[in-house]
């Protein structure tokens, strides 16, 4: 059974909340509004796609949702905690605890094997080496790569690399999974596999957010947030 989004339910805290957030680059005549007074709530169980043409502000949105950037104005609340105003180290801590990332270019560390890459997400968390290895192996198995643990990124196909990246994002058990064009560098078969994994990752406690300009990827999500010129132009939830 697929979980329903809880956006309208009372008493459920949003996982992530953007409140009239703006992000401005440059100053004076060169001022560019990448985001203009955007408000958005990501609820537990959400499966959201953020779509829009290039320059619509979706990458900026991703940066802000992932606590990689701070807004020029407005408030961002992650898991009930206001992250705007936190210093870099505190934001990094919130990010590491709450959010998992998947990128178009995979961004695996080339000199580490698959399990090593997944383990990187568990470093500096006070875990023993054995525990880290066990959790990384479990994550790799959950994406179907248990047997390729000792392969380095160059020895893996694009689809496999993205699945390793997915395992790395999952291994910390994040409440929010942020995927940036997760299928952008993959052929259709691998793209399908990755989308299937992403779809299955969504759960009543977790939200999956995909930033994309690919229509088929966007359509896989239950909730579709469309952007244009730094604003949200539509936010449609379809019930399955």
């Amino acid at each position: 059974m697929l979980a329903e989004p809880h956006s309208e339910q009372v008493g459920v805290e949003p996982l992530l909340e953007l409140d009239t957030v703006s992000r401005v680059y440059g100053t004076g005549d060169a001022t560019v509004y990448a985001l203009r007074d955007v408000s958005l709530r990501i609820m537990p169980g959400d499966f959201v796609s953020i779509v829009g043409p290039s320059g619509s502000g979706k990458s900026t949105m991703l940066g802000l949702l992932g606590c990689l950037d701070i807004p020029t104005s407005g408030t961002i609340i992650v898991g009930g905690k206001t992250v705007t105003g936190l210093d870099d180290a505190e934001r990094t801590e919130v990010r590491g605890r709450t959010i998992g990332f998947v990128f178009q270019q995979f961004h695996l560390i080339p000199h580490l094997d698959a399990v090593g890459n997944v383990e990187t997400a568990l470093l500096y968390r006070g875990l023993s080496r054995a525990e880290r290895r066990l959790r990384a192996m479990n994550a790799l198995e959950s994406v179907g790569l248990g047997l390729r643990q000792d392969h380095r990124p160059v020895q893996l196909s694009g689809g496999e690399q993205q699945r390793v990246a997915l395992a790395r994002a999952l291994v910390t058990e994040p409440k929010i999974l942020l995927a940036d064009e997760p299928t952008g560098a993959l052929d259709s078969q691998n793209a399908e596999k990755v989308m299937e994994l992403l779809t299955n990752l969504q759960s009543p406690e977790r939200a999956v957010v995909i930033v994309t300009h690919a229509a088929d990827v966007a359509d896989a999500a239950y909730r579709k947030v469309s952007m244009r010129d730094g604003r949200i132009v539509s936010d449609v939830t379809r019930v399955r």
Partner: protein
């Protein structure tokens, strides 16, 4: 604690995974440290045999000699010179001698014609001389209290004289001093700090007084004219200074002091200028190596910006990233330092062997060399580390 362990593991893994780059980084501090160690070691080894001799002989032997003001002959020290000298607190031991003049020494009476031409020093000595000089006897014994109290005609001869007169060790022989027959009771081994003793004959003060009093000016006493003093090590100069005052007690007699090992020590000193130049070049090489580390690591930070970005996204803080790079630099310094020390020691060994020198290496150079390499590497790694930490993940990850 666990964080430190994780940092360590990641640093080692990173360095091991990029072996060629790591080796290139190692070269700088390695060559620098090797140059410094080799420079110091080789300049020291060049004088290694002399240094060893200085260590063996000790640096604290002082000779005190009576010297008179202009004109007067045969200057002597006061009769109670020993108790006076012993007032000096830094004095460890003291012995007195008197150089007797114009005594013809021959192995046996009939050889007078042959040996008369060669003057052989005859010294009246007290019983403590060998222990103060720290010299052993090749055979027999030194003059003792029995010789003193009974005025026995006993003599000890130097090893050079024993060879010249073909005295075999342990052989019972006599020696003629101005025709007076003395029994040779012992042969003194080589006295490196006082080579003239090797050809000398030693007799007791009472014998000197009994047999050669006419050659000594004093009517009833044979006064010493030289002291040999061992001082506390390191206090040679002040001891010499104090002895002059303590013995003279403000009198008008003059005396000279001579630290016997001073010349040897000077000869054994490494060529400081050459050492300074080569060490400077070594330090320069280390600094250039450090600049190399800063360069390569800066490029590495750019190359690894995506890795840094993803680590930051995964929750690694800026300080973790900076520590990571600093730790890599520290390891490079440690490894480079160790390799440099090994290379340096090898160079000294090869150099000393080829030149026939004695291998000398001050042990403190080993930790100092490694520490220098580590300090330079960490300083060189500071800038790239800070740059790595300042990278914004959003800029390096090329989103969307």
């Amino acid at each position: 604690m666990k964080t430190a362990r994780d940092l360590l593991r990641v640093a080692v893994t990173g360095l091991y995974a990029r072996k060629v780059r790591t080796l290139l980084l190692l070269l700088g501090p390695m060559i620098g440290v090797a140059a410094i160690i080799a420079a110091v070691g080789l300049t020291d080894s060049a004088k290694g045999d002399l240094k060893a001799k200085v260590n063996q002989l000790g640096t604290n032997l002082i000779e005190v000699a009576a010297s008179s003001s202009f004109g007067s002959k045969d200057p002597t020290l006061p009769e109670d010179v020993i108790p006076r000298a012993e007032n000096v607190l830094t004095l460890k031991s003291v012995a007195q001698i008197r150089e007797l003049s114009n005594i013809v020494v021959t192995p046996y009476n009939e050889a007078t014609d042959k040996y008369e031409a060669v003057p052989i020093p005859v010294l009246a000595s007290d019983t403590r001389l060998p222990s103060v000089l720290e010299v052993k006897l090749i055979s027999g014994r030194w003059l003792n209290g029995f010789d003193d109290s009974t005025v026995t005609r006993s003599a000890v001869i130097g090893i050079g004289l024993a060879r010249q007169f073909s005295y075999l060790p342990g052989e019972v022989r006599t020696i003629e001093l101005d025709g007076i027959r003395y029994g040779v009771v012992g042969v003194l081994s080589e006295v490196e700090l006082e080579p003239s003793f090797d050809n000398a004959v030693f007799i007791s003060f009472p014998s000197a007084k009994a047999d050669f009093v006419t050659t000594a000016k004093e009517s009833d006493k044979v006064l010493p004219n030289k002291l040999y003093v061992r001082s506390v090590v390191g206090a040679e100069k002040i001891t010499a200074e104090a002895l002059r005052v303590a013995i003279n007690l403000g009198g008008q007699d003059e005396l000279t002091t001579d630290i016997k090992s001073e010349a040897l020590q000077l000869a054994a000193q490494s060529d400081q200028q050459i050492k300074l130049i080569v060490v400077s070049m070594g330090i320069l090489a280390s600094i250039v190596g450090g600049v190399g580390i800063a360069n390569v690591m800066s490029i590495s930070v750019i190359q690894r910006s995506a890795e840094i970005g993803i680590r930051r996204a995964l929750g690694h803080t800026r300080s973790i990233i900076a520590s990571q790079f600093l730790l890599e630099a520290l390891f490079i310094g440690l490894l480079g330092g160790i390799c440099g020390v090994v290379l340096g020691i090898l160079s000294i060994f090869v150099g000393a062997t080829i030149a026939g020198w004695v291998f000398v290496l001050a042990p403190w150079l080993i930790p100092a060399g490694i520490a220098l390499a580590m300090v330079i590497s960490v300083i060189a790694g500071l800038y790239p580390s800070v740059r790595a930490a300042r990278l914004e993940p959003l800029e390096t990850l090329r989103l969307g």
